[in-house]
């Protein structure tokens, strides 16, 4: 028998008020942006109070907390620095994410104007605007991030599949084999005790990126 060929009449209508409470998402074309505004100087104050303990005074990130500013031009380097200024394609994502998920541990505590001000300040930290800049629902769509065009759709089917669908070698595939790298040399795998794990963490700080 078919799985529900026609509606079952389950659930109830969502009211506009209910939708407004939960529907906070913002798109690159500005759909979902609430009315409001905020300037760089106000953003500086809020950021210093609510953000800088983790993200650093200049958006440089403390410890392993995310870096928010800098790294422009580093994306093809051996160790790229991916920030709002160097990597993120859309400013709408900054507004949306700060509004929905930050500060870490006290999400959805900022007013619309506070999120505009913090977003303006993050543009300033990334050298995208001057210190007198005011961001608002009116001029939001004009503010673009530098890396917007440096994304492409998933092209694995075109770039990889032909090579990876060849019948592989089964016998006498190579004359010899050598070990070229060993995990034990790096030695950053956790041991069972917290003390050992802490010691490894020191060594590993510079080793590798986070698995985000």
């Amino acid at each position: 028998s078919p799985l529900a060929a026609e509606p079952l009449g389950l659930g109830r209508a969502a009211t506009p008020e209910e939708i407004a409470l939960w529907d906070i998402d913002v798109r690159p074309d500005g759909l979902g942006l609430p009315a409001g505004s905020g300037d760089v100087m106000t953003g500086d104050k809020i950021y210093t109070e609510k953000c800088s303990a983790c993200h650093g005074v200049f958006g440089e990130g403390t410890g392993r907390w995310p870096v928010l500013a800098g790294g422009q031009g580093s994306l093809s380097d051996a160790r790229p620095v991916k920030t709002i200024g160097s990597y993120w394609p859309y400013l709408s994502t900054v507004y949306d994410y700060v509004n929905r998920a930050m500060p870490f541990g006290n999400a959805q505590s900022l007013t619309h104007d506070e999120v505009y001000a913090i977003t303006a300040y993050l543009l300033y930290l990334n050298d995208e605007v001057d210190e007198d800049f005011v961001l608002s629902s009116d001029n939001f769509a004009e503010a673009r991030l530098p890396n917007e065009e440096a994304f492409k759709p998933d092209d694995r089917a075109e770039v990889e599949f032909a090579a990876f669908k060849e019948e592989p070698c089964m016998t006498e595939c190579k004359p010899s084999v050598e070990i070229t790298m060993r995990a034990a040399v790096l030695d950053v795998t956790p041991e069972e005790t917290a003390a050992k794990a802490a010691a490894k963490a020191e060594e590993a700080q510079a080793a590798e990126p986070t698995p985000e």
Partner: protein, 419 residues
């Protein structure tokens, strides 16, 4: 129980290791060849726990090492972090619920199911609010699927780093989900023709959001409330999560509270800053949803060395593909000079873990072990070098390259790369 009324060896004697000798003496066959385990053990004499001792059972204390583990230095905080499934200790294909790896962005949301709602709105005929009771009145389906974090093996892009398949490949689990086809929930609201994208959002403090193309949403996604027969674990999205078969784990939104239908993707943080794959030329792939064919030998492996010496040896591992089934896995024990087809055993369903075995006679010499998965589309798992040649070393996600374990003459295994 006292020593006086015992006919067999005393419990104290067992505890001090003298039990074997005593048992031998009593039996009148004292011999250096007597296995100390061939004895009258306490569990052969004493009463065990009653049926009321463990209303929800736990594994034997002897299995205490079979557990999720984390790598503290990987993330800034344990709340937006990852832990790893102990693949090296498991067999078959189903992951026990308590061992399924966790990945949260703002910790485990403590959701009261009576207070949980799923809202469907946007480009629909009738915006809806569903309770958990409502959801459980839709027709249900059962499917086994793997969920692999996009970052699984991501720490290995620059070379061998973590020594154990739990750490290199353990951001994966495979359970049977019971849930409602997402299509039915969407059809209940009535998707408008211009509704091409779906935004799924979680009820946790991260308010996790991802954009999903409507074609996938209407195809095989589930709104799931059970895993392996019981309610979802809190860390897996209790009371309800999205199941997005074959696609990167980040999209399987937990604690699902909202589905919005739109005409464009939202380009949110988890599909711009994160879960985009930076290529060597500085351009990044976006919307890399499918998880490609992949495999790993789970034993022998660094956490599961060969301890029995030369002779009959069971090599086993897991293979999976986000694009279908795994009809074949090749294994090599000499670093890829010669390959053999492994023996597949267990169920084979699309977008689920598959179990393979290679039973061989170990001669006690060092080994270089690899496995190579073939999926039902004809795709053959590439080497790490083949991936790096195309992508560079900074794409973080989607590392499905062939894993090598070096086994030494003592049976110890290490994560290595080879020429």
């Amino acid at each position: 129980m006292t020593d006086e009324n015992q006919t067999g060896p005393s419990r104290r004697a067992f505890l001090t290791g003298a039990g074997a000798a005593a048992a031998g003496t009593l039996a009148g066959h004292a011999s250096a060849q007597t296995d100390p385990a061939i004895a009258i053990h306490p569990w052969m004499q004493e009463l065990g726990d009653g049926v009321d001792a463990a209303p929800y059972g736990m594994p034997s204390p002897h299995e205490a090492d079979v557990k999720r583990r984390t790598v503290e230095w990987l993330t800034a905080d344990p709340v937006s972090s990852i832990n790893f499934t102990p693949l090296h200790d498991l067999d078959g294909t189903i992951t026990p619920n308590g061992l399924c790896f966790e990945r949260h962005h703002s910790g485990v949301a403590r959701v009261d199911p009576a207070q949980h709602r799923l809202m469907i709105h946007g480009l629909v005929d009738k915006p809806l609010v569903l309770t958990m009771e409502d959801l459980k009145r839709f027709p249900r389906q059962n499917h086994v699927y793997f969920l692999e974090c996009a970052a699984n093996s991501g720490m290995e892009w620059r070379g061998s780093q973590l020594n154990g398949c739990q750490f290199t490949h353990g951001m994966i689990h495979n359970v049977m989900y019971t849930g409602v086809p997402l299509r039915l929930v969407l059809e209940e609201a009535g998707v408008k023709p211009e509704g091409k994208w779906l935004l799924a959002e979680g009820a946790d403090a991260a308010a996790m959001t991802r954009s999903i193309p409507m074609e996938k949403a209407l195809d095989d996604c589930l709104v799931a409330f059970k895993m392996n027969g019981e309610a979802l674990r809190p860390e897996q999205g209790y009371p309800v999560r999205l199941v997005v078969p074959g696609w990167e784990g980040n999209m399987w939104v937990k604690w699902l509270r909202r589905l919005e239908v739109g005409d464009q993707p939202w380009h949110h943080r988890e599909e711009t800053s994160k879960y985009t794959d930076l290529m060597a030329d500085g351009v990044a792939r976006r919307f890399t949803w499918e998880m490609d064919a992949k495999s790993v030998i789970t034993s022998p492996s660094p956490q599961a060395p060969i301890t029995h010496g030369p002779g009959p040896t069971v090599l086993t591992g897991l293979a999976w593909s986000g694009r279908g089934t795994i009809p074949r896995v090749d294994v090599t024990i000499d670093g890829g000079i010669t390959w053999q087809e492994a023996r597949m055993d267990g169920p084979s369903t699309p977008k689920a873990l598959h179990r393979f075995y290679y039973d061989f006679e170990w001669d006690g010499k060092p080994l270089l072990l690899q496995s190579r998965a073939h999926d039902s589309t004809g795709y053959v798992q590439p080497t790490k070098d083949a991936l790096r040649e195309i992508r560079g070393e900074n794409s973080i996600y989607h590392n499905n390259g062939i894993q090598t374990w070096a086994v030494d003459a003592d049976g110890k295994a290490e994560n290595v790369e080879i020429s």
